[in-house]
């Protein structure tokens, strides 16, 4: 038998083609990354030194940005807020993570599920729920307190610094939880046994062995929490304004106000950027240090630590945290969503579907904003997955020299807070020549950039898990690289790519920090819509819309869990 074989091409012709196409792809990808990552960043820096009227070089923006005590106070407030929120989140997360990862506490699966619920609750939705719960006079917690004690006033005031720190901590503690469980699950029981057999008791073992091993991961989680807190826009805007203090993000938004001072905003964004870069570097150094199993070690067998009667105390604590983050907020969000007026309570006469009807059918843009959110998130997630898959492939397979640069550019947006990224995008692409102001494209591009790091981390983990021989087998049998990608790589990575897509899509449908600066009247997304509704205190409509958004997310979670396992959103590479 004979096989019709293609004639051997001469090496010379092939060489020219392969040389060119590899480089063309490299150039194309680097161009895309320059456009998405580098250019907005450069525009941000340049804009901060540009005089608004003349376009010339100036330091005036910096003077304007830091020239008032109020503006500097806002910076300090942010730092304080970040520290308070991170510390509080640590108090919530670390015991829970330990209990779930290492002990025989009952309801560990339930606890994980509740942490996941917390994780997918947008911080601004949580903030609204907490306004309903802990408004100084009308909040349900205060009303309940007054009812029970007969006091004139309740003790809780969400409109305060500590109130804001609590709300932020409640919805960012899952980051610490994820980091800590990941680390603890890599500490094998054998390591603890080794300490036990040398005479160390349970507490000493915990203190000398387990905790130090997990410490870098815990600190890493705290840092991420801190950065989340200082980069957040929605919750501070809803709570800090009535509480009468400013933070960096709300101050930045004011610089976008009347008149629009992008230049000053750019100058004002610099400390936020600087702090973020510095802390991310510290975090990386910490978790990369050798000798810690947290990142690289292989977990051996793990046995659950027996807590005895304390297991119920631990369970109680887990449920307390869950009550603060999930049960109470959702109870009152649901109440508000179905209420004629939320303050009137749970009576049957107060129940109505009016809010849903208004939001879905009467409001000109609310329903469309949800569609916009899903559309933009979908396009962005797809773009990120394709782009990062390409980059991860090129980098991992070393197809081009200096591939590392591509990888670096994909990871770089991680250090740029959403608000700062948005200002960079605004400065770079809103005005002509691109004139993307108010278009869907600018939002999609910003989301794409924002979620590149998540995509890249996942894509490169996926590619690294794939034996290159799988592709070489295709090529040696006559298939091209593209055939290998299409017939072997893509089908094998289907699941992990779907996972990456969801990990981007779900947060992208909730993104507010960047969207608030970039949306246009016709490109309003659900998060901005919810924020707008909060402006008027329309908590009933707002709650209805927020619930709709949450409910629409549930099938996606289900798909993700079917394809990738129960914990797919709570894994390390999710953050």
């Amino acid at each position: 038998m004979t096989v019709a074989a293609p004639a051997l091409a001469t090496p010379e012709t092939r060489r020219a083609i392969s040389f060119d196409s590899t480089w063309l792809i490299w150039i194309a990808i680097i161009a895309v990354l320059l456009f998405l990552v580098v250019s907005p960043f450069i525009y941000l820096v340049v804009t901060s030194f540009t005089a608004e009227k003349t376009g010339g070089f100036t330091f005036a923006n910096y003077l304007a940005a830091y020239g008032r005590a109020r503006y500097v106070d806002a910076l300090l407030n942010s730092l304080k807020l970040g520290a308070a929120a991170a510390a509080l989140a640590g108090v919530f997360a670390i015991p829970l993570a330990w209990a779930v990862a290492r002990t025989d506490m009952p309801g560990r699966g339930l606890t994980r599920m509740l942490v996941l619920m917390t994780f997918i609750t947008p911080p601004y939705t949580g903030a609204v729920a907490w306004i309903l719960l802990a408004g100084p006079n009308a909040g349900w917690l205060n009303r309940f307190f007054m009812l029970v004690t007969g006091a004139e006033a309740g003790p809780f005031n969400i409109y305060s610094f500590s109130g804001l720190a609590l709300v932020i901590a409640l919805y960012s503690f899952p980051y610490i939880f994820i980091f800590t469980t990941a680390a603890l699950e890599l500490v094998s029981s054998e390591m603890e046994d080794a300490a036990n057999i040398l005479g160390a008791g349970a507490w000493r073992t915990m203190r000398r062995v387990t905790l130090p091993l997990a410490l870098p991961a815990i600190l890493g989680g705290l840092i991420i929490c801190f950065l989340e807190a200082i980069a957040l826009f929605g919750s501070p805007a809803m709570i800090a304004i009535p509480a009468r203090f400013n933070v960096v993000t709300t101050q930045l938004f004011q610089f976008f106000g009347n008149p629009v001072r992008v230049e000053v905003a750019a100058a004002y964004a610099m400390p936020l950027l600087g702090v973020t870069i510095l802390l991310i570097l510290i975090q990386r150094l910490m978790t990369r240090r050798k000798g810690f199993v947290a990142l690289t070690g292989k977990g051996g067998d793990r046995r659950a630590i027996r807590l005895g009667p304390w297991r119920w105390a631990m369970f109680g604590y887990a449920m307390l945290v869950a009550a603060l983050a999930v049960f109470l907020p959702y109870l009152f969000l649901i109440q508000a969503a179905f209420a004629k007026a939320w303050g009137r309570g749970f009576g049957l006469e107060n129940i109505s579907l009016r809010n849903f009807h208004f939001v879905l059918f009467e409001h000109a843009t609310a329903a469309k904003s949800v569609l916009n959110s899903f559309l933009y998130a979908g396009v962005s997630a797809t773009a990120v997955v394709i782009l990062t898959l390409g980059v991860a492939y090129i980098v991992t397979r070393r197809l081009v020299p200096f591939g590392g640069i591509l990888g670096f550019l994909c990871i770089a947006p991680f250090v740029i807070p959403g608000v700062v990224l948005a200002i960079g995008f605004y400065a770079a692409y809103a005005p002509p020549p691109l004139a993307l102001y108010g278009t869907a494209l600018i939002l999609i591009l910003a989301f794409t950039t924002r979620f590149l790091p998540i995509g890249y981390v996942n894509a490169s983990a996926a590619i690294r898990s794939l034996n290159p021989e799988m592709e070489e087998a295709v090529r040696v049998l006559g298939g091209s690289r593209l055939t290998a990608l299409r017939r072997v790589v893509a089908p094998l990575l289907k699941r992990s790519l779907l996972g990456a897509w969801l990990l981007i899509f779900i947060p992208a449908t909730r993104e507010l920090s960047a969207a608030i600066f970039l949306y246009g009247p016709n490109t309003k997304v659900a998060s901005v819509m919810i924020f707008d509704m909060s402006e008027e205190g329309n908590f009933e409509y707002l709650a209805a819309l927020a619930l709709i958004l949450q409910v629409l997310t549930l099938p996606l979670l289900w798909i993700g869990q079917k394809a990738l396992g129960r914990d797919f959103m709570l894994r390390r590479n999710a953050t």
């Binding site: 408004g135 304004i241 843009t365 005005p431 102001y437 402006e535």
Partner: protein, 338 residues
Amino acid sequence: MKGLAGLAIAAVLAFAPVAHADIKALEEGAKKEGELTWYVAHYTSEGAEDLGRGFTEMYGVKVNVVRTTAQVAYQRLLQDLKNNQTICDVFSSTDVGHYVRLATEGRFEKYVPETENKILPTFRNFDPAGFYHTTSAGLVVLTYNSTKVKAEEAPKKWQDLLDIKWKGKVSTGHPGFSGYVGTWVLTMKNLYGWSYFDNLEKNKPQIGRSINDTVTALNAGERQVAAGADGSTLFSASRGNPLAVSYPTDGSVLIIAPSAIMKGTKHSNAARLFMEYLYSIEAAKINAKHFAIPLRPEVPSPPGAKPISEIKTIRPTVADIDKGIPEVIEQWRDTFGN
């Protein structure tokens, strides 16, 4: 009332404005354009959405209602202009200063509605040059939660809000967002000096963003008294919420809120038709339903609202608003911290 009467006379004396158009032709053109975008700070969300939907039902032209606070709408518009984008077709703010500035910069298209002579004379010919026209009017008044505060205990004049007994119980909007609140703050400053707000600060008011935030705060029992808008408060009260209005003896602050067509609009027929619509009986009825002052004499005032002729009103001059509101926003931030 004197100022308004003066305006009315000016309207009568004014020359027949340019650019009158045949309504039928506008309808035809608007249908082809299919939609328009309306930046609006005048009403509550529901009121604005209702008005937009009314227009769509009448003419089959879609209205993208972008309801937000005045300063946010203006900020959005400035960004549009800065980026050479004409997204907004009709601009309806509650801060008159916006119109003065935008008109000076030549941002508006001149158009005088055919039906302007059919609205209450008080509101006619607000801008003699014909760029912007009164499309909404409302009052900032004292409002309170009627289950927590008895009518006789309710504040009667603006300075009553400074009484120590309202400590932790006052609610306001934010001049940095709301045009109503900005105009109110400016009026108070003119009447009583900035010390009014230094003292108000001592009562720790809860500061929302929109003037309509006060409705929520009072409804929920979060706060008991407020400087609120009569329309949204009475509308909410009509739905069974425990709210009441007290017209201050030293004068309710009258807000004249205009609308204008943006220059370079891509939907000029629809925009003009929309201006006509805002002066129609149908629109006036929707306004009355939401307790805004109906501009057409044919439509009666909303039930429970005092006719405007029986209310003592005060308002700053247009020039004063133009210059004063940006100032009071800064002062406010210095006093209240954000």
